[in-house]
């Protein structure tokens, strides 16, 4: 069940109606029921993995709660400061061990899923029997998302940064919440718990805004991402030597937009569904292609994943005993650059894990390492940049701003060739094509229309990309586009709304039975 399907809209409408009809204190039960129906029936997901994570998360939370309470009681009975400190340290050590066990278990499940798929064909060859049915058991949908979400809860609980939940069903709802279960965004428990427990009253304006956001997401997915997908799939799917460098460059630029439209489109739809139920999801995108550096790009792209890695990998490593020891040993060495050693190790760790989280291939590992190196080099050269800018009299004007944005696009472009290619060999051949047979003329020849998109498709793409750009510019200036249109004259306002809906209906890419292509991030 995709978010754009009759069955999902039916589930949404039914949930919506029941949610506002039942007594307010039962509203969260409706969310839980809808989430389980969506997961088990809609996605045909086998819930064993989800339940295992929910049970261990709940259990670990309860252990932490009891341990923290006992620590308070026992430390308050200590006679002096030293024994109080020792008492606290003893409890803290035990809690850390349990948390590590919990994290190892759940990350183990995640790795089992990720790599079992790779190992399955070998196992079938070895055993000579068909074990494909096991895929459903060991391939729980959304595991990459709900595992990290669960870990954030347990770590925050141990750090006393969130309240510990004593109701198992609320923990299950937090992990399985249907708009976010397959592709995020990564929610934080304290923010969601407060919203699940609050009483929600129907508001027409909110529902209208929610539907607008959902339709805007569908527009990005169906009209932009899926149309671009036809071209990109064809270009990357044919024999490499038959495609010129410029066609590959065009396909890669479009792929950058496809990935953004697809993922942010999903997030818009998920946020719209959630907003209609008065549950606000965290923002996951802030116009990443307006970023002036790679670091800024990643603060604007998949924001909740970046924040997760920063909070639970980067800071955990830097503030750990190991991080502090390395930091102490390196400080004041290498002309002051020694203090950057630990942040650089942290950065490389974050990007290595980000790479393997995204995919199980070597290409994703290299993709992660590539970004890690770029971030680390930027950090090391940060002070030098300032000197170079002064030396060459470069001012922070529009030209410099454009240069910085273009530099970011090029870095992302190079990385995206790596993850879009079918193999590392193909990626290598494409990089080589950029240099050895660019042949820019093919962009203006008939060849460009031989990869699934007609001249009219390209013209339509140009128009819809301009609409998207205009909306993005407004948002970048701090305008809330939905509010902006709400205050336009009624004719302009509804012309825009109907225009977008008609564009989705008439020019969206649908398969048989109005099915849509699967969302790209669903496979991560």
């Amino acid at each position: 069940m995709q978010l754009i399907s009759y069955s999902f809209v039916a589930l949404w409408m039914l949930t919506f109606a029941l949610y506002y009809l039942v007594p307010k204190k039962f509203q969260w039960y409706i969310l839980l029921a809808a989430s389980l129906v969506f997961y088990v029936i809609g996605l045909r997901g086998f819930p064993l993995g989800l339940l295992l994570t929910a049970v261990t998360t709940y259990g670990c939370g309860i252990y932490l709660k009891n341990s923290l309470e006992r620590e308070k009681t026992e430390s308050s009975q200590c006679a002096d400061k030293e024994s109080k400190k020792a008492c606290k340290a003893a409890f803290s050590k035990k809690r850390k061990r349990v948390q590590i066990l919990y994290i190892v278990f759940n990350l183990g499940l995640l790795l089992l899923y990720k790599y079992a798929v790779v190992l399955m064909p070998f196992a079938e060859t070895l055993t000579g029997s068909h074990i494909g049915f096991l895929e459903k058991v060991i391939m729980p949908l959304g595991i990459s998302f709900y595992t990290l979400t669960a870990i954030s809860y347990v770590v925050d609980a141990g750090r006393e940064n969130c309240k510990i939940e004593t109701d198992f069903l609320k923990v299950l709802l937090f992990l399985a919440y249907f708009p976010a279960v397959t592709q995020g965004p990564f929610n934080r428990f304290d923010k969601m718990k407060e919203q699940f427990e609050r009483e929600h009253v129907f508001q027409y304006d909110r529902m209208l805004r929610a539907v607008q956001r959902f339709v805007w997401g569908a527009f990005k997915k169906l009209v932009i991402a899926d149309r671009i997908g036809i071209f990109v799939d064809r270009v990357y799917g044919v024999e490499t030597s038959s495609v010129t460098g410029s066609i590959y460059a065009c396909a890669t630029v479009l792929y950058m937009l496809q990935l953004y439209a697809d993922f942010s489109g999903y997030i818009d739809m998920a946020a719209g569904v959630s907003e209609s139920l008065d549950i606000m999801l965290p923002e996951n995108f802030k116009r990443p292609y307006f970023a002036k550096s790679v670091a800024e790009f990643w603060r604007r792209w998949h924001i909740t994943l970046g924040t997760w890695f920063k909070d639970y990998v980067m800071f955990s490593f830097v503030m750990s005993g190991t991080g502090r020891r390395i930091s102490k040993a390196c400080k004041n060495k290498a002309s002051g650059m020694g203090r950057q050693v630990v942040p650089i190790i942290g950065t490389m760790l974050v990007w290595f894990f980000t790479g393997i989280w995204h995919g199980r291939t070597l290409a994703y590992m290299l993709w992660g390492v590539y970004y890690g190196i770029i971030m680390s080099v930027s950090l090391l050269l940060e002070q030098k940049y300032v000197g170079w800018k002064a030396k060459f009299h470069i001012k922070n004007g529009k030209a410099w701003s454009f240069f910085c944005k273009a530099r970011t696009w090029v870095i992302v472009f190079i990385a995206d060739v790596l993850i879009r290619s079918e193999s590392l060999a193909q990626a290598g051949a494409i990089y080589s094509a950029f240099v050895t047979r660019l042949n820019l003329r093919t962009l203006l020849s008939r060849e460009i229309t031989s990869y699934g998109l007609s001249k009219y498709d390209f013209m339509l793409l140009a128009v819809v990309l301009l609409i998207w750009l205009a909306v993005s510019v407004l948002e970048e200036r701090g305008e809330d586009v939905r509010t902006y249109f709400a205050y336009r004259p009624i004719v302009i306002r509804w012309a825009f709304y109907y225009g977008i809906v008609l564009l989705v209906l008439i020019t969206g890419i649908y398969g048989g039975g109005y099915d849509t292509a699967a969302f790209m991030y669903q496979s991560f």
Binding site: E296, K310, F315, K331, R339, P343, G346
Partner: protein, 76 residues
């Protein structure tokens, strides 16, 4: 103490001194590398240990929050 904290902030992130919002990390005023360097200097200056549990957006939302955090750790 306040003066010293502001000096450390000025050294690593001048914009943080003029910032008057309440989400300095989310607004991109102070990035994670700067946070790490500020923490390192605060630990050295005040002989405190800032555990990872304190490194949350709430404690780095603006300069006042950082001052409050150091004050709290000094009192512990």
């Amino acid at each position: 103490m306040e003066e010293k904290i502001l000096e450390i902030l000025e050294e690593h992130c001048e914009e943080a001194l003029d910032y008057d919002g309440d989400s300095m990390m989310e607004d991109g005023v102070i990035d994670s590398f700067t946070v790490i360097n500020v923490i390192s200097d605060l630990e050295d200056e005040f002989d405190i240990e800032i555990d990872a549990k304190y490194v949350v957006a709430e404690n780095f939302k603006n300069k006042e929050a950082i001052i409050a955090l150091v004050q709290k750790l000094l009192e512990e």
